[in-house]
């Protein structure tokens, strides 16, 4: 039984009737709103065939696919580096030596406090010409999200029962061994849903790549919108693709979570 079902009694006949009425009213309102939006857009000429027909051409679909490929590439590289940075900085902050944990904390707070957009601009302008747009995008994504993931992992380690670390020390493991073999794997597993949510954030932020001329999905969308004067339809198509990809990532995460929780290694 989930918490939500505890908050209210099982509905009786009256509540059920009310629910039905509310449902009908809500659905009608929703349909009405959709109809109104469609009507208004149609009135403004946004549903003219000329605005949507470009998407039925294989060349344009190819452009979208290519853009999507670049988006996924940037997101994948960003995720890999963000994970690396995340683990390194989490370990750094967990270190008992102050000369390690202090600088780590400062660097972490620095990059965590800046907008991804500014990080991308920074890498792109400062390394202008020497670094490709892809590097600017991946660096921006990895630095920011890496710091966030570091904090997530650290929180995961801190949330583990104290006995885990103590037992490891008792059997003679060094601090590094304890972290690597005992604490980090458990923290990683318990924090997986949060980490995946951050990966979705990373994937979405890759959409800012067009501002530093990285030719990802939104760059393609902007191009199509400019060339066929169908900015709004193009953005609707773009949003649909992004939502679909992110839902698939979320579904994958749930699957992974279930698989991991089935794993026999779970200690209770």
């Amino acid at each position: 039984m989930s918490a939500s079902q505890v908050l209210f009694d099982a509905p009786g006949p009256k509540a059920r009737r009310n629910n039905v009425i509310i449902s009908i009213v809500a659905v009608l309102l929703l349909l009405g709103a959709i109809a109104w939006i469609v009507f208004k857009f149609a009135e403004a000429g946004q549903f003219e065939a000329s605005k949507w027909s470009p998407f039925s051409y294989t060349d344009i679909q190819g452009v979208l696919l290519k853009g999507l490929g670049s988006t996924l590439l940037a997101a994948a590289l960003g995720t890999v580096f963000a994970m690396l940075i995340g683990v390194i900085f989490a370990v750094g902050r967990l270190s008992t030596k102050r000369w390690i944990s202090l600088p780590t904390t400062i660097v972490l707070e620095f990059f965590r406090g800046l907008p991804v957009l500014l990080l991308m601009f920074g890498v792109y302008y400062l390394g202008s010409g020497k670094v490709s747009p892809l590097v600017a995008v991946v660096t921006g994504l990895a630095l920011y999200n890496g710091m966030v993931i570091a904090e997530i992992i650290r929180a995961g380690v801190l949330a583990l029962p104290k006995g885990q670390g103590e037992a490891a020390t008792a059997v003679g493991l060094t601090r590094g061994q304890t972290l690597r073999t005992i604490l980090l794997p458990q923290a990683f597993r318990s924090m997986l849903p949060t980490i995946i949510a951050q990966v979705v954030v990373l994937l979405k932020d890759s959409a800012l790549g067009y501002l530093v001329t990285y030719q990802e999905l939104l760059y393609a969308i902007n191009n199509i919108g400019r060339d066929y004067q169908n900015l709004l339809p193009a953005f609707i198509v773009g949003a649909a693709i992004f939502i679909l990809i992110n839902l698939l990532v979320a579904a994958f995460a749930k699957w992974l979570e279930r698989r991991l929780s089935r794993s026999p290694k779970k200690i209770k």
Binding site: P54, T58, N223, G225, D227, K254
Partner: protein
């Protein structure tokens, strides 16, 4: 867990729909609005060029390709259309003709996208050999790069709907005018025409969309850029034609490469005298009526 299943089903359905769409797609590419009619101008590739005193040319000659920085998002000037593998526009034609004058065939040119903010750095560190990207010659920039040209005198102008009553910048009082965030044209409106309501986005195409939908009354930037959008609109939009600034477009090159600059100016001069300039202009931006072809400034 219930949601997972739903998401999965939803995802599968959408994916299937996308596949179905791809499967029955029309092959090829839709025709977007384009000013050009007729065949593209051809430029005679010079065969006996020897510019050993120019480090840029020597490097490019050895590599067998010339890297030119251009815009990818300015219709009519430098625009890489969705699905195209090469950009097109007036800047591109100028770039091709100049390259031809330097002995490089069209297939030996590599076009690299530059945005306004990285043109100087790209030239300084040799990422590109030349920049032909709506690049206004001014004294601040002359301190860090050299300019050949100008090949076109642009001016800040207004793009309006074809039945608009706006005839110049003085009509902007109380009107909504759109430009790109932080750009020089936007800053000029704030300073000189504070009675206008300025709207800024990150791209000009968003401005043009706002103009089409009636959310703004005018779009402002260099007339050459506006001409590109007007040409694309098949008559729905027009350029007012009263420029209120002077933006001589030049070809940017590394500071101090005088030999290269002279060679480019020579080929620009030839281009302008033998009528190819006009052909290139009309091929990309439409009618060249009333447009004066500038003489290169050999400073």
């Amino acid at each position: 867990m219930r949601f997972t299943k739903k998401a999965g089903v939803f995802g599968a359905t959408a994916l299937a729909a996308a596949l179905a769409l791809t499967a029955c797609g029309q092959s090829g590419s839709p025709n977007g609005g384009n000013a050009s009619a007729g065949p593209s101008p051809e430029y005679k590739v010079a065969s006996d060029v020897k510019l050993d005193s120019s480090p840029t040319w020597t490097k490019a000659n050895k590599a067998g390709k010339l890297v030119i920085g251009v815009k990818f998002d300015q219709p009519g000037l430098g625009n890489k259309k969705a699905g195209a593998d090469k950009p097109e526009g007036f800047d591109i034609e100028i770039a091709k003709s100049v390259a031809a004058g330097l002995g490089f065939k069209p297939e030996q040119i590599e076009f690299k996208e530059t945005v306004s903010k990285n043109r100087e750095p790209f030239l300084q560190n040799g990422t590109v050999d030349l920049v032909v990207a709506t690049y206004t010659i001014n004294d601040a920039r002359k301190k860090v790069v050299d300019f050949a040209g100008p090949y076109y005198i642009a001016g800040q102008d207004l793009l309006v709907k074809k039945d608009s009553t706006i005839t110049g910048p003085d009509d902007l009082k109380g009107k909504k005018v759109c430009s790109v965030d932080g750009s020089t044209p936007a800053q000029r409106i704030t300073e000189k025409y504070p009675d206008a309501q300025l709207v800024t986005y990150d791209t000009y195409s968003k401005c043009v969309d706002n103009l089409n939908s009636g959310s703004v009354d005018a779009v402002t930037t260099d007339d050459a850029i506006l001409r590109g959008y007007a040409a694309q609109s098949s008559g729905a939009l027009k350029v007012v034609g009263k420029p209120f600034s002077q933006e001589p477009y030049g070809i940017g090159l590394a500071k101090g490469d005088t030999a290269l600059r002279t060679a480019i100016n020579d080929s620009l001069e030839k281009l302008e005298s033998d009528g190819t300039w006009k052909k290139a202009f009309e091929y990309t931006l439409g009618s060249s009526e009333g447009i004066t072809i500038p003489k290169p400034d050999r400073y």
